[in-house]
């Protein structure tokens, strides 16, 4: 249930011709698109300079003065996360050239790279058309050559932390970073992801984010600092409402818990009702969001999840036996992080008072290398288990990935202060 469905894919840009290539609404056809845009789509490769071979591919298209290519951040991330890697473009005639990374937007998965000369006609950007309008995704899937996939604009995603366009058309690996154009040939978005195990459910980054990035296309020097700043800002915006508002209310027994903190958080029943042999029963609610910020191939941030479980005995057993089993639920799972990106995990345990009851609580934090303003991005895990009852207990778990320390503790604090007992 917690499995993330999104699959990111590589991109290839396609240099887009200018407005002169306008297509009329009544005369749109993929053959026209093919003819007009093939030469303006580029494949972007990350090259390991030790071997001279590519480690990832994607698509890109020309913007700005024609020497700048827009693509996805995840297409070029290897150049930031691996040593001795460089970027290269390949055009439709198989000509290649080196690229320099200009700027990134990890929150919206965008990047700008620059060639040493003008290599294509810049595409014009446009807001997305009305829902139901046809869109065309362009790119180089699986390194097989240029393709055009037609689909439909279904508007901005609802109940999601990501403001992607829902595109009901096929996107494939290698098309990441390619443009999605409307029937006039203007770019309305950038191909970014598809939903795995689905049919033609794909996602496109709206062009407004690319326009924002293009406002300051100057070359960055410290990309880690830039990533940290973007995460700080995005986290602050994402949790701003949540740390002040009351969350949706739910309950297990007499204890009330805060459920969805925002519209992108889904809560599910997670009770273990099928294990008939077990003497221990679980009533459980789990909530999680769909935020997923790609940083590198082994690091995605933004996930929030929390759960509330009532552990109880189905039959009368000694209290010591119940607590020996209850202890099994007192554990935290951390995502594996590399030493390059993260420090060691540090934990602190204590007895705390929640809703007038005594809990054993443990808070574990793992700081990352992404820091700014004397605060750093970290992972946080929290668990609290009620003690004192003979045959049942409540377990509260909370997980945050990639949030600054001060803010992550505020979110946790707000969650805990909303727990209360109410006798019906």
């Amino acid at each position: 249930m917690l499995v993330r469905f999104f699959c990111l894919f590589g991109l290839f840009l396609f240099g887009k011709t200018a407005i002169s290539q306008e297509l009329t609404d009544n005369n749109i056809s993929t053959s026209h698109l093919f003819e007009n845009f093939q030469k303006d789509i580029f494949q972007i490769q990350t090259i390991n300079q030790e071997t001279g071979q590519k480690t990832s591919i994607g698509s890109g298209f020309s913007v700005g003065d024609g020497s700048i290519l827009a693509t996805n951040y995840h297409v070029i991330s290897d150049v930031l996360n691996k040593k001795n890697h460089k970027l290269r473009y390949v055009d439709f005639q198989e000509k290649t050239g080196d690229l320099t990374l200009l700027s990134i937007d990890v929150i919206n998965d965008l990047a700008l790279v620059k060639a040493d000369k003008k290599i294509g006609e810049p595409f014009a950007l446009s807001p997305p058309p009305a829902q139901g309008a046809p869109l065309f995704a362009l790119g180089n899937p699986h390194d097989l050559g240029f393709v055009i996939n037609e689909g439909t604009n279904n508007g901005i995603l609802k109940h999601s932390a990501r403001r992607f366009l829902l595109f009901s058309g096929a996107l494939n690996q290698g098309m990441s970073g390619g443009p999605t154009i409307d029937s006039t040939g203007k770019v309305v978005g950038i191909n970014v992801a598809y939903l795995r195990n689905s049919n033609n459910i794909s996602f496109v980054v709206p062009s407004e984010y690319l326009a924002n990035l293009l406002k300051s296309p100057n070359q960055e020097n410290n990309f880690n600092q830039k990533i940290a700043e973007q995460l700080f800002t995005s986290n602050q915006e994402y949790f701003e409402q949540s740390i002040h508002n009351k969350w949706q209310d739910g309950q297990i027994g007499k204890i009330h818990f805060p459920l969805a903190m925002s519209s992108d958080v889904r809560c599910w029943d997670d009770s273990d009702s099928e294990n008939f042999d077990s003497l221990i029963g679980i009533d459980s609610i789990v909530c999680f969001n769909d935020r997923d910020i790609f940083i590198s191939n082994n690091l995605s941030l933004g996930r929030v999840s929390y759960s509330y479980s009532r552990i109880f005995t189905k039959e009368k057993i000694p209290t010591s036996r119940f607590y020996a089993n209850y202890s099994k639920y007192y554990n935290l799972l951390f995502d594996r992080r590399s030493y390059r990106d993260y420090e060691n995990i540090s934990c602190q345990s204590n007895f705390i008072n929640l809703a007038g009851k005594k809990f054993k609580a443990t808070l574990c934090e793992q700081k990352s290398k992404f820091s700014a303003n004397n605060d750093s991005i970290q992972d946080l895990r929290f668990i609290a288990a009620q003690i004192g009852e003979k045959d049942y207990g409540l377990v509260i778990k909370f997980e945050l990935n990639g949030v600054q320390k001060s803010l992550s503790r505020k979110v946790l604090h707000h969650l805990l202060e909303q727990i209360y007992e109410k006798n019906n």
């Binding site: 036996r321 007895f351 503790r409």
Partner: protein
Amino acid sequence: MKKTIKICTNPLMVLFWFVLSNILESYGDYLTSEIKYYINVKLLAINSGVLLIISWLSQLVIAQKTDKKAFTPLLGIISFHSVLLNISFSLSEIVNFNFSVNNFEIFAILIVIISFILFIGLLLKDYLDKDNLNYYKFLTCFPAVFAALFLLFNIMNFFDKNNASIPNYSKILLEKTLFSNNEISIDDYLIK
């Protein structure tokens, strides 16, 4: 001191400690089992096997220097310390839980190892002359100490490839705390 080890080496006491060791292992397994519990024959066989094998390996060392059989007293001492280790672990859990500290079991293991070495030393005085006593004491203790150290390193996640990034906290829950007023507010816990 020699009288002290009689509580381990007397044949009746050997049987007592051997049986008690198995009972405690079974009881620990019963506590953590979440299905209806009958006897765990496999666990009993493994625990008995470990005690017997370590005792046999230890007595092989003594057999090099004397014809006297030392298997039974060794089994008594090893079984006694197995019981001691079980009890020490349980006490450690109480300490870990109440004081929110980690791996207090390490001290329990170290104390049991020291006690074991002392007991073996006293035993060997009856079997070996003073020449090379320490050397043979080391060899005799080795199988049991090796097993205990393996347990110690396992607790410390020594065998995990990425041990430093494993969250380290007390994972035991008990019904009651030793002190009734040792809880703090979430403000103190998270903000201050």
